[in-house]
């Protein structure tokens, strides 16, 4: 409800309800206090003074101060985050270098092992080949000798047979058999 000052000032004289509220007011003019225009100049003046002062204080001191506090904190946090990410990058680089070296060492160890194995294998192969060649040579020599002895033995078999045969013939019949006959007889017996 909007009571104009002019209406409100005349209101007390008009009706009972208006009189009741009107007389209760202790303001100078008996108007509903917030609409008492007599207080306006003073209120505006003091509002301008106080709010103007407040605004100036806010602009010159308080807002820059809180702003700088927040900015400082923001900067500090950003700085700390940068530092943290820098340290993390360093740690990552260190881990990477370590893993690279580890891999290099592993591959080096592998190559050393494989060369050692290859060398040992080659050496063993060579030794085995030498031994085998030696053995083969020895076997061949032995076989040759055996063949020789066998051949020699075969040739001597005839002689022994002939001697034995002449000795047997002599004992049995007391006659000497000619060498030619003996040889023919022995070779005939050999072939039979």
């Amino acid at each position: 409800m909007f009571i104009s000052p002019a209406y409100a000032e005349t209101a007390p004289a008009e009706g009972a309800t208006h009189t009741e509220t009107g007389t209760a007011h202790e303001g100078a003019s008996g108007v509903f206090p917030p609409f008492d225009s007599q207080t306006y100049p003073s209120q505006i003046l003091w509002l301008v003074i106080t709010f103007g002062l407040f605004y100036m204080l806010m602009q010159k001191v308080i807002a820059p101060r809180i702003g700088s506090i927040l900015e400082q904190r923001h900067d500090r946090i950003a700085q700390d985050l940068d530092e943290a990410s820098r340290l993390k990058a360093e740690a990552d680089a260190a881990v990477e270098a370590y893993e690279k070296e580890l891999a290099a060492a592993k591959s080096k160890a592998g190559s050393i092992a494989s060369t050692a194995r290859d060398e040992a294998k080659a050496k063993a192969d060579a030794e085995r080949a030498a031994v085998e060649a030696d053995l083969t040579a020895k076997v061949a020599a032995a076989e040759a000798r055996i063949g020789e002895i066998k051949a020699k033995a075969f040739t001597e078999v005839g002689t022994i047979a002939e001697e034995t045969a002449s000795a047997i013939v002599e004992q049995l019949i007391g006659a000497t058999v000619s060498e030619g006959e003996l040889k023919a007889a022995v070779s005939a017996a050999k072939e039979a």
């Binding site: 509903f32 609409f35 207080t39 106080t50 709010f51 101060r65 809180i66 927040l70």
Partner: protein
């Protein structure tokens, strides 16, 4: 003391001052304006005096208020609107502190005076108009010509826009004033019921429990309203400043 619920809004002089026949007395209203400014700036000043990197409780509150208004202004009027930050922050803190101080018993509520809220609203609209014309010249008038409106409807729409623009200071000031006024009157009326029913004897004392509970609930509600109206005042100021900053180009 008077039981009249409007007695609390009476402005009475403390130090009478009269200049050129006009009354400029230092009144109880003036006293509470000074108190509001003293409390608000004192709180903001001393809570941040340690400039702690890790804020204490009061510094947190001051920073929260700062960031609350800063983000509100940035969302409402963009980064270009941030030059009005001290203005909006002053308005918000002044209205909020005045509202909260008004919640104290026997304290005068500065914002329950229509002339105070109207002066603040005019200050906002005045800032918008002056800065708008300063920044955009006559282009500021594009605020009254929304883009994409058919030429035939433009006069009508512009007329509506002008009326809505002119009603802004009224709605802005009356909203705050009426909320504070109505809340305080309601509180006073219910509290008055408690006293007058309590005077009626045992039955009255029993019955007085209801308005007492109502008074307690209303007090809580009024604290909410005190904050909410300061918030609304600041939000609307940001929205109006957006017009000044961006002209009719939005």
């Amino acid at each position: 003391m008077s039981n009249d619920p409007t007695h609390q809004f009476v402005v009475s002089p403390i130090v009478p001052i009269e200049i050129g026949g006009i009354d400029f007395s230092f009144t109880n209203a003036s006293l509470f304006m000074v108190a509001t400014v003293a409390v608000a700036s004192g709180f903001l000043y001393f809570s941040t005096s340690s400039r702690g990197l890790i804020p204490g409780r009061t510094q947190s509150v001051a920073e929260m208020a700062y960031e609350f208004i800063a983000s509100m202004l940035r969302e409402g009027a963009g980064t270009q609107g941030m030059k009005f930050f001290p203005f909006v922050f002053s308005l918000f803190m002044f209205v909020l502190t005045a509202n909260l101080l008004g919640m104290m018993p026997y304290f005068f509520t500065v914002t329950s005076q229509i002339i105070v809220t109207f002066a603040l609203a005019l200050l906002v609209i005045g800032t918008v108009v002056v800065y708008g014309f300063y920044k955009h010249g006559t282009h500021f008038l594009h605020v009254f010509m929304p883009p994409g409106v058919p030429a035939l409807l433009l006069p009508l729409v512009s007329a509506i826009e002008v009326v809505s623009f002119l009603s802004r200071p009224i709605s802005l000031s009356v909203r705050l004033f009426a909320n504070m006024l109505a809340g305080h009157i309601t509180l006073k009326v219910f509290a008055g019921f408690v006293a007058s029913m309590g005077a009626l004897g045992a039955v009255g004392v029993g019955g007085a429990v209801l308005p007492l509970l109502m008074t307690v609930a209303m007090t809580a509600l009024e604290f909410l309203v005190a904050f909410l109206q300061a918030y609304v005042f600041a939000v609307l100021t940001c929205m109006y400043l957006n017009d000044a900053v961006h002209g009719g180009s939005h």
